[in-house]
Every structure is written in structure tokens, then in C-alpha cells.
Subunit: 257 residues, 2 copies
DNA sequence: CGGGAAGTTGAAGAGCGTCAAAAGTAGTGG
DNA sequence: CCACTACTTTTGACGCTCTTCAACTTCCCG
């Protein structure tokens, strides 16, 4: 049943075992050829500052379904995603799950104010991350105020996105949730230089349900419904074309037919 | 019908009219006698730095139901709450509302990365706020890195709280939502030096519903249910005693009977 | 191909929303 | 102080959306 790869970080006990998987193909100056830097907060750094960053980074690869860290685990590391897709989520004791975000190249995760992580993180596809020791990264923040300012800006953007998601979870219908989700995913893809419309949907129906507060069945039924209404087309289960952005937008905002 | 006081800031049109209501009782050095400073981010400042802050602050009073600013209005100002209670919320075009947070003394609001506010803010009770011009406050952040660091910390805490709220909205039952809400409100009151258990509930049932993604009727019914189960007692409609914190906690976490 | 996971579809039921009305509460003015 | 009004809260009846459970189909990878 449990075919998931073992976690990168095992914080189950009191020991803080690190089983880092260094990529063989990782260059000596890891940040040099980085493709996502212009979009990531690293863009706030000069090239000298960047080499300070490069000194403390460990490029790491994750297999699909491989956990990166667990809620309540000691928050000793901090990450940038440079390729692939991840999900972060919280669990209730009985197994109910709320996915609070999907992360793609240029996103970061693991920034905790507390000593433990507030959520779990797991790879969806094959994923590459840049790993930093928390302490070293915080030292860097002290030395490079521009980096800290950028981080504050991103944190604020995420807060705004979280509030938008609360509106979705608290007040939108299943149809409106799906429309909002696809629209947001498509816009983020466009903004971050990934292919948009058709938009890549790396997560499965169960993940989408746990992100939108719906069951997998309702997600599936709603996709079918929108497909029959010729509002969207599934080019494959993981690639969706939005046929009329205006209509989808009006559905997402609650004005839809 | 519309008995709400006029907004403090009118950003309806293109004009940016400021109708600030200076409190007559506001002292010349407004931050000097501030009661909430130890809890607010101002605690990161030395007394010299504090006087720089005091130079640019305008203490302002709000009547119950008085709007402070509106979603999409130009984000020119930034606020600390020093007394009272406020709510921040987002609306859908058809009037559905999601309250994304309740704010009390020592909380701040209005920090936007964009040129416009991402949510509306309105006083629940008579409320006092410290008002800053955004530009001046940002200059202060550049001069006092400790203040910026503190702000980043608070933003991170709020992000964690937002994720907890997503779990609530996406995956918890009405009973679990009410239990989580009362527990969180009680804990925050204790943490911020307000009276806890009985906890002060300044918002009405409709506000609670719009915060928890429920109808007012369901909020009322659930209160009645928990009251009959002798889990909580209403000392008045705005003062609730939690009779068994352990039971309430287990309900909030989804283990409740 | 073949087996297992992921996705879809159907039927039935639960939980919460909606509508409606009663009860409680607060503010106002005689 | 009490009556009048308006709003908030509570309670009840009913219906709808979404969940649950189950069976079936499709997809994917060895």
C-alpha cells in the first residue's frame, strides 16, 4: 500500500538525521546556471551576494511522492523549488487533509517562525530543490537586507493568496472553486514562464479535492460538467485547456450561469 | 437600513480624501503611554527609534461599524489597532462575504504589496488605531531593520494561522469549527493580556458565520448544542465561558464525540 | 497484454443552507 | 419607568449540495 519513497528528512524521533541526496549533476557553483533565479527572491541579490548564497546551498532531488519534511518536525531547513511540483498540507488526527498550497519552480518553503514546521511537504512530480540550513540562511538575511525585504514582500503576497483561498473555501460552490483553481493555476503558470492554456495539472483529483475542500468524486463530476458545457477541454488528465477565459472568470467570481 | 458610519477613508472614486478624526485626548508624544507596545511590533524599537515612529503616527478613533478602508481602495495607509476590535473581509459580487480575520489591540493591518488593499476593514466595537502613511512607514522599515525583521516574523505567524484556517474551512464540521474558533479566540486573548475564559466575543453571529464559512443559523444552533452538552456557557451573548478546555480541544481537533 | 492505481459514474443519505417566524435584546422617546 | 421599534438571535421545517459507498472504466507501466 505505502509505496511512497522514504522522507528526505526523518524527524520522527528526537534525532535530526539528514539523508540528503546530492545530485551528481549539481555544478560546483550551483546558483550560476540557475534558470529560475529571475523569478525567485534570489533576484534581489548582486552576483557577489549570490556567491554567498551558492556557498551554503545544497541542490537536492526528490522522487514523486517523496516527503520533504513533516508537520511538527524540527524546522532546521529552508528550501527553494527549482523544478517540478510539490504540495504542502496539514492533517487532522483522523486523516482528513487540507492541502494549503502547490509549489512550483521559484517558490520557497520551510520558512518557520517556530521551531517546528507548521505543515508537511511532499513532491508531486520529480522535483529539484535548493536546500539551506535555516541558521545559515538567517545569517544571510541579516547581511543582505534586500533579500529580507523581498522575503517580506513574498510573504505578503502569500498572505493575500491565503485570504483569497479562505474566500473560496468558506463561500464558493464546487463549480466556482474548480473555475477559480484552474484560473489561478493558469495565471501563475503564465506569470512564472511555464506553459499556460493548456495548463499543466501535475496533481491528481484527490489532491485537487483536498486543496479545494471537496471530495475527489465532486472534483471529477465538476470537471465532466464543465467539459460538457464546452468551458474546458481535457487534452489529457494532466493538461487542461480553458476554452473561454471570460466565462471561467465569471464563474469563479460567482456570476456564472 | 444603512446605519453604518461613513468610512474613514473614501476611496470610492479617484480622489483620495482623508477624513482623519484626530482624538482630542491623543497626547503630543502618542507612543509614550501606549499600553499595547510590549505586544506590538513596536517592541522591537529603542526609545529613540520609537520617537521617530511617534513623529509620523496619527491616533484615530473609529465608531462601531465604521469602515477603515475598502478592498481595491488605494493602499496609502497602514494601521496598528491599540484598542477595540475590527474585522477584515473579502466580498463576492453577489454579496457573499468571507471574514478573513478579527483584529484586536496590538494587531496591525493594511500592509499591502500591491497598490490597493486586498481586503476591507471595519470596526466592530469602538476602536482606536494608530495611522501611518505607507511611504513614511516604509522609510522607517529601511532605517530600522529590527522592525522589518519583526514584521517578517509576524507575517509568518499570520501565514501559519491562515493555513490553520484553511484546514478549518476545507475539512472541519460546524461543531469542530465553532470549537476551534472559541479556543483560538480564548488563547489569543490570554496571550495578548485580555480576559480569557470567559472570553469576550465582540462580533455577532453573522460575523462568526462569515468567518467560519457557516450561516448564522448554524452558528446559533451549534452554540445551543454545545450549551446543552454543558461544554460551554453563555454568560451573555458576547461573553462565553469554556467549561472543559480538554473536551473543546478534542472536538476542535476532530476527535470529539 | 495484464494488473493496479486513478478517474468516472450512479444511488442514497447526511449536513448544512434557506426561508419563515418567534423570542430575546437594545436603543429611543414619551 | 415603560412602551415602542428595530435588530439580533433562536428555533423549526424543508430542500439542496455535496459526501459517502460502491461499481465500473480508463489509464499507465511493467
Amino acid at each position: 500500500m505505502d509505496r511512497a519513497p522514504r522522507p528526505l528528512i526523518d524527524n520522527g524521533g528526537s534525532s535530526t538525521l539528514l539523508r540528503a541526496i546530492s545530485r551528481p549533476e549539481a555544478p560546483c557553483v550551483p546558483c550560476g546556471p540557475c534558470q529560475v533565479r529571475p523569478l525567485a527572491i534570489c533576484s534581489a541579490l548582486t552576483s557577489e551576494e549570490l556567491s554567498s548564497l551558492a556557498n551554503i546551498v545544497s541542490p537536492t532531488g526528490l522522487a514523486p511522492r517523496q516527503p520533504l519534511f513533516d508537520e511538527r518536525g524540527a524546522a532546521t531547513l529552508f528550501f527553494f523549488v527549482t523544478a517540478g511540483a510539490m504540495k504542502i498540507y496539514k492533517l487532522l488526527p483522523d486523516g482528513r487533509r487540507q492541502i494549503t498550497g502547490f509549489l512550483f519552480a521559484s517558490d520557497f518553503l520551510g520558512l518557520a517562525q517556530t521551531s517546528t514546521y507548521a505543515y508537511s511537504a511532499e513532491a508531486i512530480t520529480r522535483t529539484d530543490v535548493c536546500r539551506f540550513r535555516r541558521k545559515e540562511f538567517e545569517d544571510l538575511l541579516d547581511r543582505f537586507p534586500r533579500l529580507e525585504k523581498k522575503l517580506l514582500g513574498v510573504a505578503n503576497d502569500e498572505l493575500a493568496a491565503a485570504q483569497e483561498q479562505m474566500l473560496l473555501l468558506g463561500r464558493k460552490s464546487a463549480r466556482e472553486r474548480i473555475a477559480s483553481f484552474l484560473l489561478a493555476l493558469n495565471e501563475k503558470a503564465a506569470r512564472c514562464g511555464r506553459s499556460s492554456n493548456p495548463v499543466w495539472i501535475p496533481m491528481n483529483r484527490s489532491d485537487i479535492g483536498d486543496y479545494l475542500g471537496l471530495s475527489t468524486e465532486t472534483v471529477s463530476r465538476t470537471f465532466t460538467e464543465l467539459k460538457l458545457a464546452r468551458i474546458l477541454a481535457l487534452e489529457s488528465n494532466s493538461k487542461i485547456r480553458l476554452l473561454d477565459l471570460d466565462v471561467i472568470e465569471s464563474i469563479a467570481d460567482g456570476n456564472g450561469a
